[in-house]
C-alpha cells in the first residue's frame, strides 16, 4: 500500500467535502455568537457554503477521476454531478424552510448545522468506493436526519416520527452491515473495485455472496423506501414538520440512488442477474402499493410519501435494467424527481403561515381563485409527478421505461404503465381541488421574496427541463459512461 507517499496533495479529490466540513464546524461555532433574532445570518452563511461547495464540485467536472484515501474515496464524473444536485437541493430546502422555521422559532443553529452534516454524509456516500466509506456516509446522514426530525421537541407527532425513523433506520443499517460482512467473507475485500474483480473472476463463494446480497438489497430497499420495506416513509413524512420532511424527501433520494449504484452496479455487477430480479419484485410492489394507497390519503404529506414510494418503483426500473442506459436514465429520473419534490413541499411551506400548517389536501381548495400563479405552479408540479408531458416527469418515465424494455422487462413495463394511470388520479385530484372547488378558508400567500422567487424558478425549471432535456440527459449519460 502507498501509505508512505501520503501528502496533502493526494487529498485533492476530497476538497469539496473538506471545505464543507470545515465550514459546517465554523458555522456551528459562529452560531453561538449570533443572537436569536439574527439567525438569518447563519442561514445565509449555510446557503453560501452550499453554493460554494457546489461550485467546487462543478469545477472538477471536466477532470479525470481522482481517488484518495487509499482507494476508499473516489471523485468521478458521476459523483460530482450528483453532489451538485444534492447541494442544490439542500440549499433550496433551506431557503424554502426559512419562513416556516422563523415563524415557529425553530430557525436555530441546530437545524442548519444538522443539515450541513447530513449533506456531508450524502457527499461521502456518493463518492464512496469502499464498504466502510459507504457506511460511514450513510450513518452520518441518517443520524443527522434522526436528530433533525426530533428537533421539534414539543410536537408529539415529530417525536414519534423521529423514534420510528430511528428504530427502523437502525434496523436497516444493521441488515446492511450484516450483508456487507458476508460479502467481505465471500470476496475477501471491502473495496468496491476489488469486490467486483473477485466476483468477476469467480473467486467469491457464490452462496455466501448471494446471502450477503439479499441482506444488502433489503437494507437498500429500507433506505429507498421500497415496498415491503416502506412502512417508515408515510409516518415520517406525515409526522415530521414540513421542512424536515422536505429535507428527507429530496436530497437523500439522490444519495440513496448513488448508494444503490455504487453497491450494486459497481461492486456487485457480477451478481446483476440476482439483484435484477429482486429489484423487479421491489419495483412492482412499490408501484402497486404506492399508487393504490396514495388514493386513500387525505393528508398531503402522507400522499406525497406514497407518491415517493411509487416513484422509487420507477427509479428501480431504470436500475434493474443493469445497463449504462438504465443507470443514466435512473440518474436523470432521480435528479428531476428531487426537483419536483422540492417544488411540491415548497408549495406546502409557501401556503403555511404562523399558527397554521398547510398539510391537508383540503387546504388547496380554490387556490386558483386566490392566486393564479401559485395554482399554476402546483399544476405543473402535479402533472410532472403524474408523468404528463410537457413537464419533465414524463421524460424521466420515458427514459426508465425504454431502458427496462431494452433489457427485456416487457411485462413489468406494462405493469408500471398501468400503475401510473392509477397514480395520475391522485395528482389530478390536487389539480381538481385547486381549480374546480371553492376555497373553504382564506388562503393567503405571503412568505418572503427569496423563497417565492426560488419556488417559481423551480417550477419553471420542471417545465423547461421537459422541453429542453438534452443537456441534463447528456450530462447523466456522460457521467455514467465515464464512471461506471
Amino acid at each position: 500500500m502507498n501509505t508512505a507517499t501520503f501528502s496533502l496533495a493526494t487529498l485533492a479529490p476530497a476538497v469539496p467535502e473538506i471545505v464543507l466540513l470545515a465550514a459546517a464546524c465554523a458555522i456551528l461555532v459562529a452560531d453561538l455568537f449570533v443572537a436569536d433574532r439574527d439567525k438569518a445570518l447563519t442561514h445565509w452563511l449555510a446557503v453560501g457554503t452550499l453554493a460554494g461547495t457546489a461550485a467546487l464540485c462543478a469545477a472538477t467536472l471536466g477532470n479525470p477521476t481522482g481517488v484518495t484515501f487509499q482507494g476508499m474515496f473516489v471523485a468521478d464524473h458521476f459523483s460530482q454531478v450528483l453532489k451538485v444536485a444534492i447541494l442544490g437541493s439542500v440549499a433550496a430546502t433551506l431557503v424554502y424552510s426559512r419562513p416556516w422555521l422563523e415563524s415557529k422559532g425553530l430557525l436555530r443553529g441546530e437545524f442548519i448545522s444538522l443539515s450541513l452534516f447530513a449533506t456531508l454524509g450524502m457527499m461521502v456516500m456518493v463518492s464512496a468506493n469502499h464498504f466502510l466509506t459507504l457506511y460511514l456516509g450513510l450513518e452520518l446522514l441518517a443520524l443527522s436526519l434522526y436528530a433533525l426530525v426530533a428537533l421539534q421537541r414539543d410536537s408529539v407527532a415529530a417525536t414519534e416520527a423521529a423514534m420510528k425513523y430511528f428504530v427502523l433506520g437502525a434496523l436497516a443499517s444493521g441488515m446492511l452491515l450484516y450483508g456487507l460482512s458476508m460479502l467481505y467473507g465471500a470476496t475477501g475485500s471491502l473495496e468496491l473495485t476489488r469486490v467486483a474483480q473477485s466476483i468477476a473472476y469467480s473467486q467469491a463463494n457464490p452462496t455466501l455472496a448471494a446471502m450477503g446480497l439479499v441482506f444488502v438489497v433489503a437494507g437498500l430497499a429500507f433506505k429507498l423506501g421500497a415496498v415491503p420495506f416502506h412502512m417508515w416513509v408515510p409516518d415520517v413524512y406525515q409526522g415530521a414538520y414540513t421542512p424536515a420532511a422536505l429535507f428527507i424527501g429530496a436530497a437523500p433520494k439522490i444519495a440513496a440512488f448513488a448508494f444503490v449504484i455504487r453497491l450494486l452496479a459497481q461492486g456487485l455487477d457480477g451478481l446483476s442477474a440476482d439483484w435484477g430480479l429482486m429489484l423487479a419484485i421491489l419495483s412492482a410492489a412499490s408501484l402497486l402499493v404506492g399508487n393504490v394507497v396514495a388514493i386513500a390519503q387525505t393528508n398531503f404529506k402522507r400522499m406525497l410519501a406514497y407518491s415517493t414510494i411509487s416513484h422509487m418503483g420507477f427509479l428501480l426500473l431504470g436500475i434493474l435494467a443493469g445497463t449504462d442506459n438504465g443507470y443514466s436514465s435512473a440518474m436523470f429520473y432521480v435528479i428531476t424527481y428531487a426537483l419536483m419534490t422540492l417544488a411540491a413541499f415548497g408549495m406546502l411551506l409557501l401556503l403555511s403561515r404562523a399558527g397554521f400548517d398547510c398539510e391537508n389536501l383540503e387546504d388547496f381548495k380554490g387556490l386558483n381563485q386566490r392566486s393564479k400563479w401559485w395554482a399554476f405552479v402546483m399544476l405543473v408540479v402535479m402533472f410532472s409527478l403524474a408523468g404528463i408531458p410537457p413537464a419533465v416527469g414524463f421524460l424521466g418515465k420515458l427514459a426508465v421505461l425504454q431502458a427496462a424494455l431494452e433489457a427485456g422487462w416487457t411485462a413489468l413495463v406494462v405493469f408500471a404503465v398501468l400503475m401510473s394511470v392509477i397514480g395520475a388520479f391522485y395528482y389530478l385530484r390536487v389539480v381538481k381541488l385547486m381549480y374546480m372547488d371553492e376555497p373553504v378558508r382564506e388562503i393567503s400567500v405571503e412568505p418572503r421574496g427569496d423563497s417565492r422567487v426560488l419556488l417559481s424558478a423551480n417550477a419553471l425549471a420542471v417545465l423547461a427541463l421537459g422541453i429542453v432535456p438534452g443537456p441534463l440527459m447528456d450530462l447523466c449519460a456522460r457521467a455514467v459512461a465515464a464512471s461506471l
Binding site: 386558483n368 393564479k372 399544476l379 402533472f383 404528463i388 408531458p389 410537457p390 414524463f394 421524460l395 420515458l398 427514459a399 421505461l401 425504454q402 424494455l405 431494452e406 416487457t410 413495463v413 406494462v414 404503465v417 398501468l418 401510473s420 394511470v421 395520475a424 388520479f425 389530478l428 385530484r429 389539480v431 381538481k432 381549480y435 374546480m436 432535456p469 438534452g470 440527459m473 447528456d474 449519460a477
Partner: protein, 493 residues
C-alpha cells in the same frame, strides 16, 4: 425544404395563449378577448399556406421541418403533413376562431384562463397532426389533456368534475399503452422514433397484434368506439359549449387520424386480421348507439351519441381497406367536424337563453327565433346525411365501399341514414315546432350578429363541402392511395 409554416401553426396559438393568460384580468376581460380573437385569426392565417401551397401530386410528407430535440433517444422535432393531416389542421384552426367568437358574452368567469386554455390546446392539436416523431406526437397528444381537463372541469356543468376525471383517466390509460408500444418499436427500429421508420420496420404477427392492440386502446378511446365510449356523453354534457365543439369537432378526429397514421401502416397484417372485429364494433356503434341517441332527453347528450354513431362510420370505412372506404371515412371526419360543431353551437345558443338542455323545456322555438330555426334545420339535415350537405358524401362513400365487401355490412351501415334522420329530426321537431311551449320560449330573442357569424360560416362550409367536395378529395386521394398500397403489403417475413 425548410419551411416554418407548421411551426407557426403550432406556436402562434400557444404564444397568444400565454399572452392572454398574462393579460388576465377578471374585472376587465376585454383585452384578453380581443387578443384571443387576434391570436385565433392569426393562427388560421398562418395555416393558409398549407392549403395554397399544397402539392397535390404527392402522397408524401410536405412542409417538413427537422431539428434534433432529445439527441440521447434520437427524438427529433420533426414536422410534416400529408393529405390526411393537412385538412385536419385547417379544420382545427378554423374551429378555434369559432370557439373564441362563440364564448364572447357567454363565458364571464375566469375569461382569460378559458381563452388561454383553448388557444394553447389549438396549438397542441396542430402539433399532434403535424408530428412525424412518435415521442413528439405523444407529447402533444398528452399535453392536450391538461387544457381539456381544465376546460371541462372548471367551466362545465354540475357534474363536471366527474366528467373531467373520467375523460382524463380513460384517455391516459389508452395513451400510456400506446407509449409502451412506441418504445417497443423504438428498439425494433434500432433506435428511431420516426413514425415513417415505424412504417417500414418488419414485425412478426404476434408483435403486430400486440402493437396494434396497444395503439387501438389509445385511438379507440379517443374516437370513441363502443364499448369505450362512455366518457364522451359525460364529458360533452358537462363541458361548456366551446369545449364540446373542440371535443367533437377535433379531438375525436385524432383517434381516426391515429388509425391511419399509426395502426394501419405499422401493423398491416394485424389490421387485416382484426378488421372483422373492428368492423363489428363499428357497426355496433352505428346501430346500437344510434338507437341510444333516439331515447335521449338531453340535447347535448343526443348529439354526443350521434357523434359516436357517426364516428363508427369512420372506423368502418377505414377498415374496409378500399380507397372509397378510407376516403369516405376521412370526408366523414371533416364533415362531422363542421356539423357537430354547428349542432353544439346551436344547442349553446338555446342554452345561453333558457339555461336548459332538456328537449322537454322547449317547443315552438321556430315561432320566436325563425332565423335560428332555419340554421338549426339545415345542420340537422346535414347530420342526418341529406344529399348536398357534407354529411351525405362520407356516408355514401362508406356504404358504397361496404357493399363491395359484404352486403350485410352495407345494409347495417345504411341503417344509420334512417336512425340518424330519426333521432335528429325528431329532436328538431320537438324543439322547434309546435305551439310555443312556455314563457321561456315565448321570451326568446333571435340570434344576434355575433351568433350569426359562426352560424353562417358553418353553413357555408357544410353546404360548400356537400356540393363541391373535390378540393377535399383531391387533397386526400394521393395520400390514401399511397397508404393503401403500403397497407396491402405484408410486413411478415
Amino acid at each position: 425544404m425548410a419551411s416554418m409554416t407548421l411551426s407557426l401553426a403550432i406556436w402562434v396559438p400557444i404564444v397568444f395563449g400565454v399572452a392572454v393568460l398574462a393579460l388576465g384580468n377578471d374585472r376587465n376581460p376585454a383585452p384578453a378577448r380581443w387578443t384571443a380573437l387576434a391570436g385565433s385569426i392569426l393562427g388560421l392565417l398562418v395555416c393558409v399556406p398549407l392549403w395554397t401551397g399544397f402539392d397535390l401530386t404527392t402522397g408524401g410528407m410536405q412542409f417538413t421541418e427537422l431539428r434534433p430535440w432529445i439527441e440521447r433517444f434520437n427524438v427529433n422535432y420533426h414536422l410534416g403533413v400529408d393529405g390526411i393531416a393537412m385538412p385536419l389542421i385547417l379544420l382545427n384552426s378554423f374551429m378555434t376562431v369559432l370557439v373564441v367568437i362563440a364564448h364572447w358574452e357567454v363565458v364571464t368567469e375566469k375569461v382569460s384562463q378559458y381563452l388561454a386554455a383553448f388557444l394553447v390546446m389549438s396549438g397542441l392539436i396542430n402539433g399532434t397532426f403535424a408530428a412525424l416523431d412518435a415521442i413528439l406526437f405523444y407529447v402533444f397528444f398528452e399535453a392536450m389533456l391538461i387544457p381539456m381537463f381544465l376546460i371541462i372541469g372548471v367551466w362545465g356543468g354540475p357534474n363536471r368534475v366527474y366528467a373531467a376525471v373520467k375523460f382524463f383517466l380513460y384517455t391516459l390509460l389508452g395513451s400510456l399503452l400506446m407509449l409502451a408500444s412506441f418504445i417497443y418499436l423504438y428498439w425494433q427500429t434500432n433506435g428511431s422514433f420516426e413514425i415513417l421508420d415505424f412504417h417500414k420496420v418488419p414485425l412478426g404477427f404476434t408483435a403486430q397484434v400486440l402493437v396494434f392492440l396497444a395503439m387501438f386502446m389509445s385511438f379507440a378511446v379517443k374516437v370513441p368506439m363502443w364499448p369505450v365510449h362512455t366518457w364522451l356523453p359525460d364529458a360533452h354534457v358537462e363541458a361548456p359549449t366551446g369545449g364540446s365543439v373542440i371535443l367533437a369537432a377535433i379531438t375525436l378526429k385524432i383517434g381516426g387520424y391515429g388509425f391511419l397514421r399509426f395502426s394501419l401502416p405499422i401493423a398491416p397484417d394485424a389490421a387485416h386480421a382484426l378488421s372483422g372485429f373492428i368492423i363489428a364494433i363499428s357497426l355496433v356503434a352505428v346501430v346500437y348507439i344510434g338507437l341510444v341517441a333516439l331515447v335521449q332527453s338531453d340535447m347535448k347528450k343526443l348529439i354526443a351519441y350521434s357523434s359516436i354513431s357517426h364516428m363508427g362510420f369512420v372506423t368502418l370505412g377505414f377498415f374496409l381497406f378500399s380507397a372509397d372506404g378510407v376516403l369516405g371515412g376521412m370526408i366523414q371526419m371533416i364533415s362531422h367536424g363542421f356539423i357537430s360543431a354547428a349542432m353544439f353551437l346551436c344547442v349553446g345558443v338555446l342554452y345561453d337563453r333558457v339555461h336548459s338542455r332538456q328537449i322537454a323545456d322547449y317547443g315552438g322555438v321556430a315561432n320566436t327565433m325563425p332565423v335560428f330555426a332555419a340554421f338549426f334545420v339545415l345542420f340537422a339535415m346535414a347530420n342526418s346525411g341529406l344529399p348536398a350537405t357534407s354529411g351525405f358524401i362520407g356516408e355514401f362513400l362508406v356504404v358504397l365501399a361496404a357493399v363491395k365487401v359484404n352486403f350485410w355490412v352495407a345494409l347495417l351501415a345504411a341503417t344509420t341514414l334512417i336512425f340518424g334522420a330519426a333521432y335528429t329530426l325528431w329532436m328538431v321537431k320537438r324543439v322547434l315546432y309546435g305551439e310555443v311551449a312556455n314563457a321561456n320560449v315565448a321570451a326568446l330573442k333571435d340570434v344576434n350578429a355575433r351568433e350569426l357569424v359562426f352560424l353562417v360560416l358553418l353553413a357555408v362550409a357544410v353546404i360548400g363541402m356537400g356540393v363541391y367536395p373535390k378540393p377535399f378529395s383531391e387533397v386526400l386521394n394521393p395520400t390514401i392511395q399511397q397508404l393503401l398500397a403500403h397497407v396491402a403489403e405484408s410486413k411478415l417475413q
